[in-house]
């Protein structure tokens, strides 16, 4: 249902309800008022007749005659509608009918001896006032019909409601048009949006808009900017990834051709070894690309669970033990305290630490040592995980750049994909942690991850993990 129709119906119903209650109220008030006025008239008329008789101004017998003659030719007729609306009967106290007005029913109007009463005579409802004069021995009854009273109230109400009824369609029309005009800014936005192609992410035209619509436009523009930048970074990433894969592929192809062309077995073997190296490296790069895509696609999951860090790190250490042996680098873990992480995807931390350790193993010269340590900081509110190597480190001017995608340090010599630290950085962003890289004292790189963790969940970690190079 459109907002316009919805508003229209609400307004019509509200207006209708207000009007209906006004009519009901007016009717009740009018009825009460009319009742009072007409009752007063009845009693007044009755007393008037009594006083006339008492003064002997009229002879009862003559009066009866006059009354019989009156009516049809009376000059005093206020309006045709209200003619013969009052009926009068004069009864003797003994119960004899002394006289009655024209139009009065034949039956006795009231059995009451005095005061107001309601009666049903000849099939009609009457309102009667009886005035008794014991001295004269008469009862004067003046009455009008209920039907007349209802008719009167009805015509008053009709007179009130009828013009309103005539105005109603005009009012509805006005409401409909006003709603249309009032909602025009929204319509404009809707029209602009529906005319755009799905890939058009340019901001909406910045024209003066109603204060209610402005947040909508601003919200949409903000959203579109975010979508555009996300799409742009995705595009850049894909393009970069494709380019970055071309270099190792190129190495593979060249070495394969070398192997095919080589005249001697030694050169061929060397080329094959290079091919193996390139395949390993390409494999790692593809894995990192997938890691990155997985972290990027990660949407905050609803449930955050506490997860102990130490077992995660133990898994990573185990995975990298063979790599450390191949490189001839000693890999030590010193996990004094284990912290508990509150997050939806603790595995991201494993990915981050794995990348740091792989970098450290690649950087450290043969026979050197890579250490992984963990301890609580900030009074147990955070957990610091440190990876330190004894390689050549990262030059100071590169420290800020290396977390960007596909940025390789000068000393990396093309061995890595340029994605490792970018993955760590991204994972830290998702885990609300941070990565800092500093030059370690005595050379080498110190990479530190600081993560918020559940305070009071610091305990002794799993036994020392060691992975040493084969002796």
């Amino acid at each position: 249902m459109s907002i316009r129709l919805r508003l229209f119906l609400i307004l019509v119903l509200a207006t209708g309800a207000v009007w209906a209650s006004a009519v009901v109220w007016t009717r009740a008030r009018t009825e009460a008022h009319v009742e009072r006025v007409l009752d007063a008239r009845l009693s007044e008329a009755a007393r008037m007749v009594v006083s006339l008789i008492a003064d002997n101004s009229i002879d009862l017998g003559a009066a009866a005659g006059v009354m019989e003659g009156a009516g049809t030719e009376t000059a005093f007729a206020p309006a045709a509608d209200y003619e013969h609306r009052l009926s009068c009967q004069i009864w003797s106290v003994e119960g004899g009918l002394l006289g009655q007005s024209e139009g009065a029913p034949d039956g006795r109007l009231s059995s009451n001896s005095s005061g107001f009463s309601t009666s049903d005579v000849d099939g009609q409802a009457w309102r009667v006032y009886t005035a008794e004069d014991p001295d004269l021995g008469i009862r004067v009854m003046v009455a009008d019909t209920r039907a007349m009273r209802e008719n009167l109230v009805g015509s008053i109400i009709t007179a009130l409601v009828l013009p309103a009824g005539l105005v109603l369609p005009a009012l509805l029309g006005l409401i409909w048009i006003s709603l249309g005009r009032g909602l025009a800014p929204l319509d404009r936005v809707a029209r602009v949006l529906s005319n755009r192609s799905a890939s058009d992410l340019t901001p909406l035209p910045d024209e003066p808009a109603a204060s209610e619509v402005r947040p909508l436009i601003e919200g949409l523009n903000g959203l579109m900017t975010r979508v555009a930048s996300a799409r742009e970074s995705e595009r850049t990433f894909t393009a970069f990834a494709a380019h970055e894969l071309k270099t190792p592929l190129s190495g593979l192809k060249t070495q394969a051709q070398v192997a095919a062309m080589s005249p001697d077995p030694a050169t061929k073997d060397r080329a094959l070894a290079q091919i193996q190296k390139a395949v390993d490296r390409t494999d790692r790069m593809v894995r990192q690309l997938l890691d990155m895509a997985a972290i990027e696609a990660e949407v905050a999951e609803a449930g955050e669970h506490p997860a102990s860090i130490a077992p995660l790190l133990a898994d990573v250490m185990e995975d990298l033990a063979s790599l450390a042996r191949v490189k001839g680098v000693a890999l030590h873990a010193d996990l004094k305290e284990s912290c508990v992480l509150q997050c939806s995807r603790p595995l991201l931390l494993g990915t981050a630490v794995r990348n740091l350790l792989e970098n450290a193993l690649a950087a450290g010269p043969q026979g050197s040592e890579v250490t992984l340590t963990m301890h609580a900081v900030e009074e147990g509110r955070s957990c610091a995980i440190r990876v330190r190597d004894h390689g050549s480190g990262i030059p100071l001017d590169e420290l800020a750049l290396v977390t960007r995608r596909f940025v390789r340090g000068r000393q990396a010599e093309g061995a890595g994909s340029g994605l490792g630290l970018a993955i760590v950085d991204l994972a830290m962003e998702r885990l609300r942690g941070r990565l800092s890289l500093t030059r370690a004292e005595g050379g080498g790189l110190l990479a530190e991850l600081v993560l918020p963790c559940l305070s009071g969940h610091v305990g002794p970690a799993v036994p020392d993990l060691q992975a040493s190079p084969a002796k």
Binding site: L249, S250, L252, V258, M261
Partner: protein, 225 residues
């Protein structure tokens, strides 16, 4: 022909050095722009294979600096970015040729030969001297109606001599041409290869200039190419 290779991926770099050696090129390979500039400073290269994206800067910057110094060194640009506008940027940036990764080793060698011979002012791939028609692409020569094949090292020396026929090349200059082969240069290597060349081309094709080095003998009148 001694080639400078600047490529940061070590597997590819190694493949280029070995692969180009099969085509008779001697190469020196470095991984970064800084090392590349140092090597260019030292000189002695007939051409360069340059990667566009280096860890410490763009190959295009290095090329621009090289050209601004007035160098006409033939440069073949090697890059993963091979969309048309990127090729245009590379060629306009001073590269003589442009090859997208991954490439074919033989094509690379052929393109290198092409830009090198154009730099020497020749359009024909073959070089003729004193009755010898040398085909660098095949590392073969034809002399007196007979086809001779050469080993890469023999070819490297012959190629060096035939580039400037008549000029004397010292032993060290010839050794430089051989520098980069993985087995190193032994003291007698140049003599050994010259000896083998003489046995293939005739004893008088290469002259020894006492105390100076070697040169190709001037052509006999009837055999001028």
């Amino acid at each position: 022909m001694r080639i400078l290779i600047i490529e940061d991926d070590d597997v590819l770099r190694d493949g280029l050095v070995v692969g180009l050696s099969f085509a008779g090129f001697t190469s020196e390979a470095v991984a970064t722009r800084v090392e590349g500039e140092a090597a260019l400073e030292a000189g002695g290269f007939s051409g360069m294979v340059l990667d566009l994206m280096l860890p410490d800067g763009s190959g295009l910057d290095l090329l621009a600096r090289l050209r601004s110094r007035g160098s006409t060194l033939p440069v073949l640009m090697l890059t993963a970015r091979d969309r048309p506008h990127e090729r245009v940027a590379g060629l306009d940036g001073g590269a003589d040729d442009y090859l997208g990764k991954p490439f074919d080793l033989e094509e690379l060698a052929a393109r290198l030969r092409a830009i090198l011979r154009r730099a020497e002012g020749r359009a024909d791939g073959r070089i003729a001297w004193n009755g010898l028609v040398l085909d660098p692409a095949k590392m073969k020569g034809e002399i007196a109606g007979e086809v001779q094949t050469f080993s890469p090292k023999e070819f490297a020396i012959l190629r060096a001599l035939i580039e400037r026929p008549g000029a004397v090349l010292g032993k060290s200059a010839l050794e430089e041409r051989l520098y980069g082969w993985e087995d190193g240069v032994e003291s007698n290597t140049v003599e050994v290869h010259v000896h083998r060349l003489r046995s293939k081309l005739g004893a008088s094709f290469i002259e020894t200039v006492r105390g100076a080095g070697y040169r190709l003998a001037p052509p006999t009148a009837k055999e001028t190419a």
